[in-house]
């Protein structure tokens, strides 16, 4: 059974169709990359999966359960974690508190139960030296790390990453990629929106191409990247 399945999910904002009968499945444990030009509806797709936006039609199925009408909070408890394209840490909380909140409420546990795992995640993401700083004052790299760390703290089985590598240097990017590979190796299903293709290709097994709210290709990265349609639309090759 796939961990996530979208069935003919559509969403329009007025005349603008941001999701046009999107259907795809993600098997347990797979890493799926999502690419597409700006405005293709990638972040909207995440919002539909997390429940921040309700679709006009279609269903979102998590672990065989129809979650189309469930709140983001309920989906979080079912194992959906997410990082944002523009990092949105709780700025007034310290880095560690950000993880405690995510861990305790995201898993429905007490803070004492999640303290150790939160500390381990800080270590894993390289945030340990900044654990007690207010998250509002972090650098871009550390904010991105915190996005990942906080999503990890909810102990997700399905992790949604939204352009986590954007704006980073190669070295910074590589350290994030290593962490994500580690998560994937440990069995977490990952869906990753990314423009930095070499980062994406280092992790994902499948690529999905989105264009004006439609899925125009899904398959092995090599196959997708060489498809003529994708090259025309996404890579801007002259016709």
């Amino acid at each position: 059974m796939p961990i996530l399945a979208l069935r003919k999910v559509s969403k329009s904002f007025g005349a603008l169709t941001v999701a046009d009968a999107i259907s795809f499945e993600v098997p347990q444990g797979q890493a799926l990359g999502i690419i597409g030009p700006n405005g293709a509806g990638k972040s909207t797709l995440f919002n539909l999966i997390t429940g921040n936006i309700a679709p006009d039609s279609g269903t979102v199925v998590l672990d065989g359960t129809d979650v189309t009408r469930l709140s983001p909070m309920q989906r979080c408890r079912m194992g959906v974690g997410r990082s944002f394209q523009i990092p949105q840490p709780f700025g007034k909380l310290t880095v560690f508190e950000n993880l405690l909140v995510a861990g305790a409420f995201g898993q429905g546990k007490t803070e004492a139960e999640v303290t150790d795992s939160a500390a381990a995640i800080l270590e894993q993401t390289g945030l340990l030296p900044k654990a007690n700083r207010p998250a509002g004052g972090l650098s871009l790299l550390d904010r991105k790390r915190l996005e990942l760390a906080r999503a990890m703290a909810t102990n997700p089985r399905l992790l949604l990453l939204d352009e986590i590598a954007g704006g980073l240097t190669d070295a910074e990017c590589n350290s994030l990629v290593e962490t994500i590979r580690g998560l994937h190796a440990a069995g977490t299903t990952i869906i990753w929106i990314e423009h930095v293709l070499h980062a994406l290709n280092a992790v994902v097994e499948r690529l999905l191409v989105l264009h004006f709210g439609r899925v125009i290709g899904i398959g092995a990265p090599a196959e997708i990247m060489t498809s003529r349609e994708v090259q025309e639309i996404y890579l801007g090759v002259e016709i």
Partner: protein, 287 residues
């Protein structure tokens, strides 16, 4: 020596204003909700305490223990059923709704308890006093101040040391992201208002023991509370205590010069602080 006495009395009076203000500060800090019915909710709590004292014949301190959970429930329900629906980008709906609520509470209290002025009877302790060095201070004002310090200390502990407090701060920061972390903002908000109403109950006890009250005095208490919150800097609880003290001292100083100046000098002190420090004395670093 009279000046020392005046200032000490002012500081202690400031404790009462800080108690009025702490609940307002808590609710505003977490959900950016300005509750114009806050003063009337204090008066409502005072009537509730009086009602429990009269019906059950218990001591006011026991009555507070009974009234506090009831006020928590009132606050929780109020937030859940009404106030949360008014929250959004527009600041007008919460103002209008709480203004209406203020009128509803005043009129309901008038219907239920008449316009007669009331007092919560506490027996001999009302007039008891202790000698603090050169000045002698009333036991009740002293208890009021001690309660204010204790309440603000407890709220700070709650805010910065507990899981619920972190949820308060996370939701206040970003309710949408908080939901993705498994936090349910509506229930966090309801709990916050419930806790604010417990603080309101404590404030109501001292209001009712120290002075007479009737159903219409709520809005004036709201003004003092507002001034204390704004002097202190929005969202800073210790600042709220400082704000209360500044208003209290200004009032007793003004009153000692000319009794007619008491209320006025409190407001003038507020305006002066606002002119010099528009963001209050202890503004929060981020906002």
């Amino acid at each position: 020596m009279i000046w020392v006495d005046t200032i000490v009395q002012g500081v202690l009076l400031g404790g009462l204003y800080a108690l009025f203000a702490a609940g307002l500060s808590l609710v505003f800090g977490i959900m950016r909700l300005v509750n114009l019915a806050h003063g009337d909710l204090i008066v409502l709590a005072a009537y509730l305490i009086l009602f429990v004292v009269t019906v059950l014949g218990v001591h006011p301190l026991v009555a507070v223990l009974l009234a506090a959970p009831m006020m928590f429930a009132i606050g929780w329900g109020l937030q859940r059923l009404i106030l949360t629906r008014t929250l959004g980008d527009d600041i007008l709906p919460p103002l209008l709704v709480t203004f209406g609520l203020s009128i509803v509470i005043q009129n309901a209290l008038l219907e239920g308890f008449t316009a007669d002025s009331q007092r919560i009877p506490m027996g001999a302790i009302e007039t008891a006093s202790v000698a603090l060095g050169p000045v002698s201070v009333g036991l009740i004002p002293l208890l009021t101040f001690a309660s204010a310090v204790l309440v603000i200390f407890a709220l700070n502990q709650l805010f910065y040391r507990t899981s619920l407090g972190r949820a308060f701060r996370a939701v206040s920061d970003d309710p949408t992201t908080a939901q993705l972390m498994g936090i349910r903002p509506a229930s966090v908000f309801a709990t916050a208002t419930g806790i604010a109403m417990v603080v309101v109950t404590i404030a109501a006890l001292y209001l009712g023991v120290r002075s007479n009250f009737d159903p219409t005095i709520g809005p004036a208490r709201l003004i003092y509370a507002f001034e204390a919150v704004i002097i202190g800097g929005l969202g800073s609880l210790w600042g709220t205590l400082a704000g209360g003290i500044i208003i209290g001292v200004a009032q007793t100083l003004g009153g000692s010069i000319n009794p007619e100046w008491q209320i006025l000098s409190g407001h003038i002190a507020f305006l002066v602080v606002l002119l010099i420090w528009p963001r209050g004395l202890f503004p929060r670093a981020f906002d």
